[in-house]
Symmetry: C2
Subunit: 221 residues, 2 copies
Amino acid sequence: MSSDLILYSYWRSSAAFRVRIALNLKGLRYETRAVHLVRDGGEQHALPYAALNPQELVPTLLDGERVITQSMAMLEYLDETRPQPPLLPADAAGRARVRALSQAVACDIHPIGNLRVLQRLGAQFDADDEQKALWMRHWVASGFHALETMLAGSAQTGRYCHGDVPGMADACLVPQVYNARRWNVPLEDYPTLLRIDAACAELDAFREALPERQPDAPSNR
Amino acid sequence: MSSDLILYSYWRSSAAFRVRIALNLKGLRYETRAVHLVRDGGEQHALPYAALNPQELVPTLLDGERVITQSMAMLEYLDETRPQPPLLPADAAGRARVRALSQAVACDIHPIGNLRVLQRLGAQFDADDEQKALWMRHWVASGFHALETMLAGSAQTGRYCHGDVPGMADACLVPQVYNARRWNVPLEDYPTLLRIDAACAELDAFREALPERQPDAPSNR
């Protein structure tokens, strides 16, 4: 079954990075199909990809005939169809905690600093690179401050975001920390986030999902 | 059990509106505690609320001793702890479709037009009300265009977003349509969204969740 998994991905997309981590954590083999978000005005806006994903965003996951959009829906889908090892804990309260940590990134940090939002800041407000970086740093700092409080203040935080097993929240956090470094966001105020990020960096599932390891990364082409 | 549910809410918050719909669809009684997002610089930024929700966002759900943040985590939690009637279909592919439709709103429309983002556009780019409205209309139009394609093009769309039973995707769509009307977004290009919104408007669960029906709405105070 897993040999039919195809991920439409862009090496530097945080959302695709999340799904790569989840696929790797579950030991699933998949084929990467690159969608270049910048070249030629963005391949995500052109057919045939735009027919698969009407939002014209990456990633898109194919499981045989099934077409799945939205990275967080993919993580839930993979956990339902390939339950071992799980991305979510077994208890409802723990699942709610992990989903809330995940969504603090996936709803409240990442979409506001997405490529298309930065492009829109340029088009509507004539924002230059420095102003875009200021925007990014504001939202990452605000989100990371909250996440640090949520993680440092909870006995349920372990080596990873929830206990000592990596899962959904880690798959969301690590790409956002990677992205923050790219934008030179100061990170010294978030020791728990950095500790968890470092623990994840020791795992092959996270290392092999890194942007620079992807077949469409500039260094690999 | 359900008598212990407390929702920290703001009448006009789309995310709180979603959770009110879900609670109503399940027939759960809950206590509303109002958090005023604007008065005194925003009660969400002050104690005691900010200790419950380190992101300083509404809503927050209390289930007895359990504190749950993030509206989409609340919907999943309610569906796991009070399964009937379900907010998600039973099959993994259907669940992925409903989650993707939901997240197309909850990740890719709503957070980009949130109050705090509009405030930031004012602070960083000196955006006035007209520019904020233009920003809102851009993101709602882009998201609704994709949702219209996803819904109109699928045989799984029924009276509601997924078949003939209202659920999670409807609980996300209806507050976003309400919000679009508030910002005077032209909606004539989205006939399927409008049809589903009208079908939902016939249901008490949606009507009773409307912002103007909430105890903290200005007309009720």
